[in-house]
Amino acid sequence: MDDFDRKLSEALKIESRYDGATGKEMSSMAGGIFDRNIATAKAWTWGFLAFETLCMIVIALAAFVVQDIKWVVILATAFIVSYATTILMKLWFWIVHTRIKLQEDMRALQLQIAELNEKLGGSEEREARNEE
């Protein structure tokens, strides 16, 4: 790094001086957006589940009322589709959640190894010492 590089680096840091107060406002705003997003996703999920449950109840009740066998078959199929959709949706969420949890555990383990490695002085330094 020569003199120009050093001057450039300092000048750019001065030029892009960060305003912590506005930064905090922005952080809380981002947190608010995150919360709203999660709440919307939850509302859609529970709304959909409630709708599916309602459909199943209505279909089941209707199946007992109708006389025509053709309609009984149609309603039974609709009930199975509603039930399968609900189950598949729950299964999908469970798979995504498990994948994230598994990745989290792996990263937590990697973090412990990296911290241990840094405490021991880094693998490169150790290799250099071993070569000596």
Partner: protein
């Protein structure tokens, strides 16, 4: 071997994907300054940088669940900031053209002033490289990873950008 800082970022991304607000706030706290600094140097305007950052966080919140590889978060976040800043620069250029105003042409008073003018005249890609290396302190390997281009390309492009910046600063 990945450094612990990077793994912490990945862990925070994963926890945020799982709906943990605290993890997301920590992620914002860790990345906000870097991303803002980048936006500030690309746009050359404080307010535009904050606007770009706001749009960036909005896009990140919306798209975080779809991010399959948490290690790709820095690349993704910088790309969003870049896109937001490029949009802003284009809007400014269109506005200037519409108002038929030539870019301001005044003699710079000091180093900061000449740097500001020179940065404005650089291409956006060059500004991004200068900002990442000199203001945010990223090495060639890190920049290559973030931008998704080979390390050699980063070196040559950074050298060209630096030389152009030096020439522009000297000429002003």
């Amino acid at each position: 071997m990945k450094s612990s800082e990077r793994i912490i970022d990945e862990l925070l991304v994963l926890r945020s994907q799982d709906g943990d607000r605290q993890a997301f706030e920590e992620l914002v706290a860790r990345w906000q300054e870097r991303l803002w600094r980048h936006a500030r140097l690309l746009t050359g305007d404080q307010d535009a940088a904050w606007d770009a950052l706001q749009e960036t966080w909005l896009a990140i919140v919306k798209g975080l669940k779809r991010l399959n590889d948490p290690a790709a978060f820095p690349k993704w976040a910088y790309k969003i900031v870049n896109d937001q800043c490029v949009d802003w620069i284009r809007r400014q250029q269109r506005q200037r053209k519409f108002e038929d105003q030539p870019p301001e042409d005044h003699r710079p008073d000091d180093l900061q002033d000449s740097l500001r003018l020179a940065m404005e005249r650089l291409q956006v890609e060059q500004r991004a490289l200068i900002s990442m290396h000199y203001a945010e302190g990223y090495g060639m390997v890190e920049i290559a990873e973030i931008l998704g281009i080979p390390e050699g390309t980063v070196k040559s492009r950074l050298f060209a950008a630096r030389e152009q910046l030096r020439k522009l600063m000297e000429s002003s």
